[in-house]
């Protein structure tokens, strides 16, 4: 990555100065490799919108969803991306409340990831609607015919939960950025200084400002923490409130929350391990910090595994024919291969993190994070598709195959996610400079 002259961190600089220069270097003129990666992601995004256009033009028939599997990859993607969005708030808010100092290495990237993942997730209910132009039916707008959304539907709860989470996460992200934006205003020149100055809302760093800042940051952290649990609980209730075998189980809410944190933590690894190397942030994102995050990944993997055991064991405990058949079908039915890959990626491979040497091996952590993300995507697929494919009446059983259109949109969503993250790396400081200065 090319750097502007004078931005390289020198050995004789004061730690704070070196930090600012390192972070600014990351925001310097983009290299050809960066532009190439952005271009590739841009192509995927174009593909996403092109296929969506075709779906709008021709109808939902070109997606693989059918009767009885009326929820497929689109809803899988929605749940997956909402899950990815969880780690940002976990790292920023929850770890802030628990005074875990390693959070400062990841919090900015994780918060950005939250907002980006939520934006990507928000596309999927719209795509799945088919007739996207009537999406506003989900909102309680003042209709002259007094038509209100069905507030008993968890799909409407989703709208409120995800929107609230998005707003609070955005406020948390922006308020955390303010002191750093003021640094950018000071260090950059020309129009960039004016833009960052405008964005920093006149931050001067006075004692009064810091006092208010710390108070509002703490308040937002406390407010965001229950949101981490509530959003994915509500997403889980999209499934669990129905009486479909394999869905209607009370453990779904904590199980989904743990799964979301697992996938979110894995995505933080996926993003920050290459970012640390490419941008030369080794001094600030240390192996110790990755190790601490690896413990969170291991812990959430254990909760997810506990949930797998509980829901399967209780299906047999209860002796309900349909529940038993559902869990047999998951393990040995049409999609058995995906189920066992899911178990391998989410439950077995993270067990390697019991060993300290594996927790500190960044190459392994990166590979594991990719595998966990595959596993978590498959988990949502397994839950959604298997239950719909094998409901109560054998006459209504069916199978589902992912169509090329669904595959293209899924790839496009990854393109959108990575494109937005690449833009974030160039436009905003990837590390929270003011917080890291406190620990220097």
């Amino acid at each position: 990555m090319s750097q502007e002259p004078g931005l390289n961190a020198g050995p004789n600089l004061a730690p704070a100065e070196r930090l600012e220069r390192t972070v600014l270097a990351a925001m310097s003129r983009p290299s050809l490799r960066y532009l190439g990666a952005l271009g590739l992601c841009g192509l995927l995004v174009l593909m996403l919108f092109a296929i969506w256009g075709v779906i709008i033009w021709q109808g939902m028939g070109i997606a693989g969803i059918n009767h009885p599997v009326s929820w497929g990859v689109f809803i899988t993607n929605f749940v997956f991306w909402v899950g990815i969005a969880h780690s940002g708030t976990l790292i920023s808010a929850v770890l802030y409340l628990f005074r875990a100092r390693f959070r400062t290495s990841f919090n900015r990237a994780a918060e950005a990831m939250t907002l980006i993942a939520l934006s990507v997730a928000g596309l999927f209910p719209l795509i799945h609607l088919g007739r996207v132009w009537i999406f506003y039916y989900l909102l309680p707008y003042p209709s002259e015919r007094l038509i209100w959304p069905n507030f008993r539907s968890p799909l409407v709860w989703d709208v409120f939960a995800v929107t609230t989470y998005m707003l609070v996460s955005a406020a948390f992200f922006y308020i955390g950025l303010l002191p750093d934006l003021a640094i950018l205003r000071r260090r950059l020149q020309g129009w960039r200084s004016r833009v960052y100055g405008w964005l920093s809302l006149g931050w001067s760093g006075s004692l009064d400002e810091w006092r208010h800042y710390n108070r509002v940051y703490l308040f937002l952290a406390a407010f965001a923490t229950p949101l981490v649990a509530s959003v994915h609980s509500i997403v889980s209730w999209d499934f669990a409130v129905s009486i479909v075998p394999g869905w209607h189980t009370t453990i779904f809410a904590p199980y989904f929350v743990a799964g979301a944190i697992l996938s979110g933590s894995a995505m933080v690894f996926t993003l920050t391990i290459p970012m640390r190397r490419i941008l030369g942030l080794e001094a600030y994102i240390q192996v110790d910090h990755f190790e601490a995050l690896a413990k969170i990944l291991l812990f959430t993997s254990l909760i997810v595994s506990y949930s797998y055991i509980c829901e399967t064991a209780l299906a047999w405990y209860h002796g309900n024919l349909f529940e038993m058949e559902q869990f047999r079908y998951r393990s040995f039915g049409d999609y058995w291969f995906l189920y066992w890959i899911m178990i391998l990626c989410n439950s077995l491979l993270p067990l390697t993190l019991w060993r300290k040497s594996w927790r500190r091996n960044l190459r392994w952590l990166f590979i594991l994070s990719l595998l966990v993300n595959v596993g978590m995507w498959l988990e949502r697929f397994v839950i959604i598709v298997n239950s719909l494919a094998r409901e109560y009446s054998p006459y209504a059983w069916g199978t589902y195959q992912v169509s090329l259109a669904e595959l293209g949109i899924t790839l496009g969503s990854f393109g959108l996610f990575f494109a937005m993250f690449l833009l974030f790396c160039k436009l905003l400081p990837v590390l929270s400079m003011t917080e890291i200065k406190e620990r220097l």
Partner: protein, 352 residues
């Protein structure tokens, strides 16, 4: 100042005496109602295991507040063995369970007794190992803490599914296991808050400002657990209500039909969620050990009330006998806290 000192042998004899008293009241034909021992077992296993689990979790996360209460929480380990022995004495009460008449491959008397006894013994063994090593070392003993936590989660889950849920077979809630071990941790935090008030957080070992900071952390934990409890409670009962399946709602309807249990349910929500959530929101309350202890007492009463709510319709009990049994075990716990030096080794290198 210690008024009475106990030798280790005296402590174990006192615990055995407590167990004997519990059994005397259970099987002494004082009352035809027979659910008291079950309730006492379920409540105290959560309480005692919760204390140790809290200490283990604090060691693993390197929480600083544990320095003020480490020994007081760890010294509970002999009680785990007493509970395992009391569980064995539950064998004549298995006819309380509806599956007793028609046993299945999982729910049958011998297997039920063996698996739960083994888990209770595993919890005692791993808990003792963890307590002895954690009390002796200045550095946290992570391996023992992890082993104990595994046994704790497995044991609390199985107690929830076997001892409580199967009372209302075929009613089922897959969250109940997780709900129970979270409640056990919640009870551990509440007991820690009580200990802070009663013992002053180890005044002889720590500076007052350090004790104050540690106490605030425990109060914050109590507040946090109240939110977690509220979330899990809501997640569990929302699905039962929304699904509206007779086999699921029957459990709740059977309880809410009686005015007494309906009021008890409200009191449980008030004590376990509303009181700590509203009471501990203000910073000033969190700084006053007496007020936090009051909230902690409410939480413990709420958790006891909830166990009563779960068990009462299927296993009627005599309130006097139940309270006596719990009082005896409570005295046993206090004796252990008082004589902690006999059941725990001296710390090497000082308190962390």
């Amino acid at each position: 100042m210690m008024l009475v000192t106990f030798k280790r042998r005296d402590l174990y004899l006192l615990l055995l005496l407590a167990a004997g008293l519990v059994l005397l009241f259970e099987y002494g034909k004082l009352t035809p109602n027979r659910g008291a021992l079950l309730l006492t077992l379920v409540f105290w296993s959560g309480l005692a295991q919760g204390c140790l689990a809290l200490a283990a979790a604090a060691e693993l996360t390197r929480a600083r507040w544990i320095a003020s209460l480490r020994r007081e929480l760890l010294c509970v380990h002999p009680l785990l063995l007493v509970l395992a022995l009391l569980f064995l004495c539950l064998a004549p009460r298995l006819d309380l369970y509806p599956w007793h008449e028609k046993p299945g491959p999982w729910l049958n008397g011998p297997f039920f007794l063996v698996r739960n006894l083994l888990l209770l013994l595993a919890v005692w063994w791993t808990g003792r190992r963890f307590a002895l090593s954690a009390a002796a070392r200045a550095e946290p003993c992570q391996r023992d803490a992890v082993l104990f936590l595994f046994a704790f989660v497995a044991c609390q889950s199985l107690l929830a599914f076997d001892l409580v849920m199967s009372l209302a077979y075929p009613w089922m809630s897959s969250l109940l296991g997780a709900y129970f071990f979270v409640e056990a941790l919640y009870a551990g935090v509440a007991l820690a808050a009580l200990l802070f008030f009663v013992l002053g957080g180890g005044k002889q070992r720590q500076a007052p400002e350090v004790i104050g900071a540690h106490h605030r952390d425990v109060a914050r934990l109590l507040f946090g657990f109240s939110v977690l409890w509220g979330g899990l409670f809501f997640a569990q009962f929302l699905l039962l209500w929304y699904g509206n399946l007779p086999e699921e709602t029957g459990f709740i309807v059977a309880r809410l039909q009686s005015a007494g249990l309906r009021n008890l349910a409200l009191l449980v929500i008030l004590a376990c969620f509303v009181a700590p959530f509203i009471g501990l929101m203000a910073r000033r309350v969190k700084e006053r050990p007496a007020l936090v202890a009051l909230v902690a007492l409410a939480v413990l009463a709420g958790l006891f009330g909830e166990r009563l709510f779960f068990i009462l319709p299927e296993a009627p009990l005599h309130l006097g006998v139940t309270l006596f049994q719990n009082l005896v075990l409570g005295m046993g716990w206090l004796v252990l806290v008082h004589g902690q030096g006999e059941v725990l080794p001296e710390a090497v290198g000082g308190e962390g």
